[in-house]
């Protein structure tokens, strides 16, 4: 999967929770959980949606990478390759 394809999945997963998420104001290395005000349930939903869309497994060990757009995108691009 290309970086762009993976980034699309990350954004889709986030907009399922925050439909009006403003990605223009969110840098690739900004921590989106605070910026988009995701609570624990939101974050869990994000991880589950992303895993489902990417057709890959994401678990606790991956959480440290699932905090920025760039980190999440790279992870999904690797996993879903």
């Amino acid at each position: 999967m290309t970086y762009e394809q993976a980034l699309d999945l990350v954004k889709t997963s986030l907009t399922r929770i925050v439909p009006d998420a403003d990605f223009t104001a969110l840098g690739p290395t900004d921590k989106f959980r605070d910026r988009l005000e995701l609570d624990s349930l939101d974050f869990l939903q994000f991880v589950e949606t992303l895993a489902e869309l990417g057709g890959c497994r994401l678990d606790e060990d991956d959480y440290p990478r699932l905090v920025t757009l760039d980190g999440s995108t790279r992870l999904v691009a690797e996993r879903a390759a």
Binding site: P19, D20, E37, L41, D42, L44, D61, Y63
Partner: protein, 598 residues
Amino acid sequence: MPWETIVKDTAPRVPPNLADYGREQRWFAWSNARGQLLGLPGGRGLNIAYEAVDRHVDHGHGAAVALRCVGRDEQVTSVTYADLARRTARFANVLRALGVGRGDRTFTLLGRGPELFTVVLGTLKNTSVLCPLFPAFGPDPVRQRLRLGDARVLVTTAELYRRKVAPHRAELPGLEHVLIVGEGAADLPGTHDYAALLAEAYDEFVIPPTAPEDMALLHFTSGTTATPKGAVHVHEAVVAHHVSAAYALDLHPGDVFWCTADPGWVTGMSYGIIAPLTHGLTVVVDEGDYDARRWYRILAEQRVTVWYTAPTALRMLMRTTPRRGTHDLPRQYDLSALRFIASVGEPLNPEAVVWGQEVLGLPVHDNWWQTETGAIMIANFAACEIRPGSMGRPLPGVTAAVLERGEDGRAKITSDGHVHMLEEPDTEGELALRPGWPSMFRGYLHDKARYEEAFAGGWYLTGDVVRRDADGWYWFLGRADDVIKSAGHLVGPFEVESALMEHPAVAEAGVIGKPDPVAGTIIKAFVSLHPGHEPGPVLKRELIAFARRRLGPAVAPREITFDQHLPKTRSGKVMRRLLRARELGLPEGDTSTLEGPA
């Protein structure tokens, strides 16, 4: 399959405070319990902050660690009781210099960190009243609570202020002082720099005389109809915080205690701040968000001995490490210090109790209480067997009853004001408590009528439906009204419906709790649209975004269904009970008061 009772057959490492339930129940008296607190020196009354902080310093324990704050980056900062005494004295002096005095309301909209403790306890030292707000509230709930609670002072961060308060500041003329923690005050007109004010303030403060009945805390809670209610608590509540923590959380000297609840809610205040400090313990404060590894790491590295958490968090941990698995994740951490686990917020499902036993080696002890009760009322105790799924038995000093319900689902009150106690085991009814414990709320702020409605026949009516088994264990069955318990937070459907109806497309809304395997229930809204608006995925997303912006993630609906024929009473009120029944596929019951055929 009924879950097997968990019997405590091995001798505990530490003898529990409550060893013989029947004996404690018989002999306990709140008048004696007061003796466990010191009172202000010179007989000047009873002040929560003195019991939580200064008394330990006055008795030579100033060097003990009061707080261990784990930052987002996992850097740990320790604060001793002596540090905390000085910081809270400074904050009390800051308030005094600002002209803020007895009974004036200070609000917090802050993350979990050392400043929160300074502000809460400094406010109480100054005999002002503290009202905590949950940082995950959106601008609407924040504004409404600041207004209803007569906020004079707000302590928050630049980010939270900019997002949630500044746009509505003009509507809050009573809000005189906004103190900004961290960077950014210089760029925000009409605010003070918290750190600068603290640095200038003197670090000694003599707590003024405080009557036990003086108002200390204001906690907003949600009702079925109308605006949130501000439950008033007084300084005497500290007696119940202290005693209940000894009984239900089994706190002992030397414990390291971690309450994961946010202090924006009553649990985080009563047990995240006040109770453990009155016991002179070390309190772990985690600034970060839930993350299974992070939590196990904190439990292990901080050598937490007593852990008070919530069903939603436990169920998230269960997803990561199911019972029928290899338990690899928790096994990587040394959890040997952990002695006791308790949970509150919504009913704990039996599997989570047993999960604790099998995966962490300790069963989870569910307990029950409310914003109004101020302290734990019903609990599973360290020394007693656990019946998984039960909230336990009343604490010593607490008298509970199950009352027969009337047609509206609430306790049936006869024309002469009497209620009927159900004595037959396992009969469903409304849980009621006999008033008289010290942390009982003393009123809803500016709302005498709603306060009086909460009582009948000499009982406080909790709004929760329960049954009591033949041996006296209580089992939660549901709410008697439309209030929703979601992820440990009480959400009022009216607040959500009102926000949705501010959207131009929405004609009417009905909001219910929908069962969810992790959160217990999630907020679900049914909406009907004004003519000219098309139901569909685009509008659905727009409404969810709209509600999140206004209400914040803790209160906004996670699901929306369009329905042009919302069931209504003849008086035009949306019948949430029917929406709930339809959602769950339950019988719709008596529909004779419906507006027309449903």
